[in-house]
Symmetry: C2
Subunit: 186 residues, 2 copies
DNA sequence: GTCTATACGGTGATAGAC
DNA sequence: GTCTATCACCGTATAGAC
């Protein structure tokens, strides 16, 4: 793999696991066996440019993954359960959730850097768009679809936070039980 | 006010607004007009001890505030709407949410420091306990009350994250519309 | 209890050889 | 394109006077 891709890949994992400020350039460099000079060659604006590039790459990956899950299931209900299952598995394997969340980056950087905030915003919008499309195909009205897709995104993101805090997958499991309730009874 | 309380108060606000790593000791000291020597007199273990103390104080404050709101309303539905309204007002006034969330600290520190993780965990448990008690008094079963109180906590926390990202209060407003739906149709 | 001055490590970033 | 050496700066933490 080329140096730039390697940098993006390792940095993405580290940022997701530990947040932005916590991860130093040296840590990324050591983990990827790349020199400081090479990094600044590919990312002249340094750490923040690297982060934004990571977020863009992450957007593509997440979109692809969730779309794959959603195309495999007929209803939003089934697709959401399957999505949450994937998150639970990821959490049980790695202890942290990588690949789907970036809450640490949002809460650290949303108020500090406008470009980063925008990149995060686009990411959430993409996720909501997928949920929304499925809800529409389920037969929900435009308005409900938009509202519910936001509620789904919020509750999943919040549940991941609770999983991190309680160091348990129970929060995700609980909402996986409760959310279908909501989707059926609309 | 005594130095120690002043330190806790200003640090709490800054940590909530900007996260843990982002806020330097110097920034806290300058904002509170306290010297470095005084800080290390009151908090010999430094920054992390200060953070944990802040989280404990925050737990008391949040518990008191939410309990006050919940005692003013008859049903969980009304109480939750009122709670979310408070959050929306706070967000519209200050631009960031202080006083109720600490997501930045959770996502930054949960995997890094066990004592901090524990303090955050206690905070969430307190909030969920209040929700749960009200749900029981609404007549829900034990099991549903526990599950729903977790879903409420998760969706509110997640919605605040989305508000931060989108720089809008719409996410909170949307879930304020959707959650009653869930509470009625159980 | 509070102050100032200082220590020391690590940070992001740059320069220049190859 | 990649390396090493070096930069200035800021972080937390400490020491000792008052």
């Amino acid at each position: 793999m080329d140096t730039k891709s390697l940098l993006i890949e390792t940095a993405t994992i580290l940022f997701q696991e530990k947040g932005y400020k916590t991860v130093g350039l040296n840590e990324i460099l050591k983990a990827s066996n790349v020199s400081k000079g090479a990094l600044y060659h590919h990312f002249p604006d340094g750490k923040e440019e690297l982060l934004i590039t990571c977020l863009h790459a992450l957007k593509e990956d997440i979109t692809t993954d969730i779309e794959a899950i959603f195309s495999k299931h007929l209803t939003t209900k089934d697709a959401i359960i399957s999505t949450i299952d994937t998150l639970i598995n990821s959490f049980e394997k790695r202890g942290t959730i990588t690949g789907y969340t970036f809450s640490s980056i949002v809460s650290e950087m949303a108020t500090m850097s406008e470009p980063v905030r925008k990149a995060c915003s686009e990411l959430y919008e993409n996720i909501e768009r997928i949920y929304c499309a499925k809800l529409l195909s389920d037969g929900f009205s435009d308005e409900t679809a938009v509202s519910v897709s936001l509620l789904l995104t919020a509750s999943i993101e919040g549940a991941m936070m609770l999983c991190l805090t309680k160091q348990s997958t129970n929060p995700l499991k609980t909402i996986a039980e409760q959310l279908p309730n909501l989707l059926e009874k609309l």
